[in-house]
Amino acid sequence: MDSHSPKLTDSVSLPEHLDATKTFIGIGVVGLIASFVGFFLDSKQFFFSYLTSFTFFSSIALASLVLLMIHHVTKSSWGTVIRRIPEAFVSKLWVWALFFLPVIFGITSLYKWTNEAYVANDPILLGKQAYLNDIFFIVRQVLYFSIWGYFGYRLHKVSVEMDRTNDWGLTILLRKISAPGIPIFALTVAFASFDWLMSLDAHWFSTMFGVYFFAMSFQAIFPVLILFTFWFHSKGLLKNTIRQSHIYDMGAWFFGFTVFYAYIAFSQFLLIYYANIPEETLWFYHRMEGSWSFITYLLLAGRFALPFVIFLNRDRKHSRTLLGIVSVLILALHFVELHWIVMPTLHHHGMSLSWLDITTFFGLGGVFMGLFFMMLKKNNLVPVHDPGLKPSLAKEYHQ
């Protein structure tokens, strides 16, 4: 009997030489300083690039947050061995919130609805003023980040506390935090996506947009987990903890949410395309114009068709090479898709990649990953006393 109850055999602390906190913070500082220079050269471009990069990293953290909540509520055990990765992403969301400040400073450059003279001549925007106004916008952001910050901090804190106290009862607490967290998450993320992205084109609207933003973020979280797993393994970490069966599970989830993403994105497109009402189609019209259309087709091929065809096959869901390549591709395309959502507001007629896209990406990415490593190295790499750990370790892959 006992031969079937597995034990944690790997070391669970991140070795000193692998702690990349300082490196990433360094990259972040350099990137942000470079971006700051760009602010003086082309402030409009700076704000748009900054928003894109900020949304990219935020979406990873938000997808991590809801993944954790679902994990706790459903008492699922498969993900216990990788749980510290999403936990490290969300724990410092309240610090990450400070990096939203530049967006607030830039709202007049980003969002046309902030321009009173412009709004005064536009009956539609005039009608939206009760929602789209500077003060309420800022109030909402404070609200979103306090909520996310709270949930992220608590979920990480309680989980880490379990390592210390060895009391499985804390899983009950985690569940009690997560259950109401899920509906609150759904509402805040939907409205945040309206605020950050949809209101860039203040006339445009789509009831699906919140779900769409969630779907693309949630598809992107699995590549992140997969790549971290591979990185751990390449450094000889957690080799007997995160096993083939877990990699297969992540591949299967990734496949499932690739289909879900495509379903949501395509439904939104099809309904707008089919009904062909000018106030709705304009958004897609801009994205089918000039070189933007190239990205539209690239997303269709790269974010759905390719991973779908590859991972339809069961065996390929745990091929490390394929998972690795496709994960990198999906994360790149996740950025590209956000770029494609944000930038046509600034560059109507075609793509224009600015150096600021790159510096803000590295600037914010450095900070984001710095925070991540700071939390990762502080605690065990797996929740050692979580009662879900043993069933998670026991997962076997049956060919």
Partner: protein, 474 residues
């Protein structure tokens, strides 16, 4: 339980001291016993209602759709509402079978057979309405792309045509899925039944099943493939039903969240219907040890989740109707909540969004009577959801001079009532002649099926683990 590492052991799927043999007897004896009198009574009532359905359809074909309450702006009334309602109900079966199977949720084994049967009969009820609402039912075959001398083709751009394909595919795959799962159980019945005729009938249905290794291997493969095929179908069917509305430019219909919102609503009503039926059936047939309170609790959680998703969609619709600042869209939503059909709107909100919130309480979601009540409330609410969508948008169209109040006639109601007869008739036949629980699958999910639960002498010796209390309460 065997799993020594389980900290909070999942409640046993089967309560009571059952082994494989007693499970077989418990389930299949229902089919082998003489037919109870009560069954004949309920079957008789169902037959009467079925007759009502046939008579209503007959009169409809004779007279035309004028016998319904349709008017000049509300050209789509109860027929489409009932269609969407029944299709929605027909969602839980395949969801339980396919999606929960892929997620390895073993608790599905107690209810999957039952829910699949419900799915098939519900889809049959649904299919009637689009067929009869076309008016000239004798040319219904025009919906199929049949080559003809007039070189006339159906409109491939129309979601109504996509519906024809989606529903028929769904029905076919659901039926196959159900049948494949039934094969081993047919064999069990064949081996247990005494009557010669029964032996032959079940024997034919069992397709020569002998329970050999190779049979099981093929069976598992087929079941897996069908589950994989059925999963996207769960989404696609109701997505296309939502397209029937959402591709149009009618305010209140054209909104991008419709596809996932309809799917969530369908799962919501389907689970509610499974609960309604299950609570009655498990009581009458004494199956409480298989369809346990834990099953009810799990299903109530799904009801809570999907009901809240539907609530999320209502909120998004309402917010964007205002945010979009399109006059017509705004007007429709204000009229929904305050206009002539406001009563229907608030019934919908109460039943669909508010009533499931009771299930945040563990006590209530384990309360059988309360669950039964809510499961009916939910399906009333879901019927009104389709009513609100269909009727409010049509009755107040772009031209205020044509606005009018829509009310159904006796024939609308009788047709709808009659579908319960059709559903009931088939469902009772199912209860009588087929094993209502997937016996073979259920056994596979029992601790006795786990080889780790046997000691070296080959005796069944499940490993019990004592779980310490949490250090403090949280």
């Amino acid at each position: 339980m065997s799993k020594t590492y389980e900290y909070v052991p999942e409640p046993a799927l089967v309560k009571g001291n059952h082994d494989f043999g007693s499970i077989t007897r418990l389930v299949t004896d229902i089919n082998l016993r003489p037919t109870p009198k009560a069954w004949y009574i309920v079957f008789g009532i169902s037959n009467l209602l079925l007759f009502v359905l046939l008579a209503s359809i007959g009169y409809l074909i004779w007279q035309g759709t004028g016998i319904w309450g349709l008017n000049s702006t509300v050209n789509w009334g109860w027929a489409i509402i009932n269609f969407v309602w029944w299709v929605g109900i027909g969602h839980a079966g395949t969801l339980i079978s396919a999606i929960l199977f892929l997620f390895r949720q073993n608790w599905r084994t107690a209810i999957n057979r039952f829910a699949e049967a419900m799915t098939i009969f519900a889809v049959m009820c649904a299919g009637i309405f689009p067929a009869i609402h076309v008016g000239r039912i004798w040319v219904i075959y025009w919906v199929f792309p049949v080559p003809n001398s007039m070189a006339m083709w159906p409109n491939f751009n129309s979601p109504l045509l996509w519906d024809v394909f989606a529903i028929s595919t769904y029905l076919t795959v659901s039926f196959l899925f159900w049948y494949v799962g039934l094969v081993p159980d047919f064999a069990t019945l064949r081996d247990r039944i005494k009557s010669k005729f029964g032996k032959i009938a079940y024997g034919i249905a069992a397709l020569g099943w002998r329970g050999s290794n190779r049979h099981w291997w093929n069976y598992e493969k087929a079941y897996m493939i069908l589950a994989g095929l059925a999963t996207p179908l769960v989404l696609s069917v109701h997505t296309i039903v939502s397209f029937d509305f959402a591709v149009s430019v009618i305010p209140g219909w054209h909104t991008t969240i419709f596809p996932p919102y309809f799917v969530a609503g369908a799962v919501f009503s389907g689970f509610a219907m499974v609960l309604t039926l299950m609570i009655i059936v498990r009581k009458i047939y004494g199956l409480e040890e298989i369809m346990t309170d834990d099953h009810i609790e799990k299903m109530n959680i799904i009801i809570l989740v999907t009901g809240s998703m539907v609530g999320f969609a209502y909120l998004m619709e309402f917010f964007i109707a205002w945010y979009g600042q399109v006059e017509y869209e705004k007007a429709i939503f204000i009229l929904r909540a305050t206009g002539p059909y406001a009563w229907a709107y608030w019934i919908m909100i109460t039943c669909n969004v508010l009533s499931p919130q009771f299930f945040w309480s563990k006590k209530l979601r384990r309360h059988v009577g309360f669950t039964f009540f809510i499961s009916i409330v939910v399906n009333i609410g879901m019927w009104f959801e389709r009513f609100v969508i269909t009727v409010t948008s049509l009755s107040t169209d772009f031209l205020p001079s044509s606005w009018g109040y829509y009310s159904p006639t006796m024939w609308d109601m009788l047709t709808y009532l009659g579908t319960f007869g059709l559903f009931g008739t088939f469902f009772l036949l199912f209860l009588r002649f087929l094993p209502m629980i997937a016996v073979a699958e259920l056994k596979g999910a029992m601790p006795q099926a786990d080889p780790h639960n046997y000691n070296d002498e080959g005796e069944y010796a499940p490993h019990e683990e004592i779980i310490p209390e949490p250090k403090r309460s949280y």
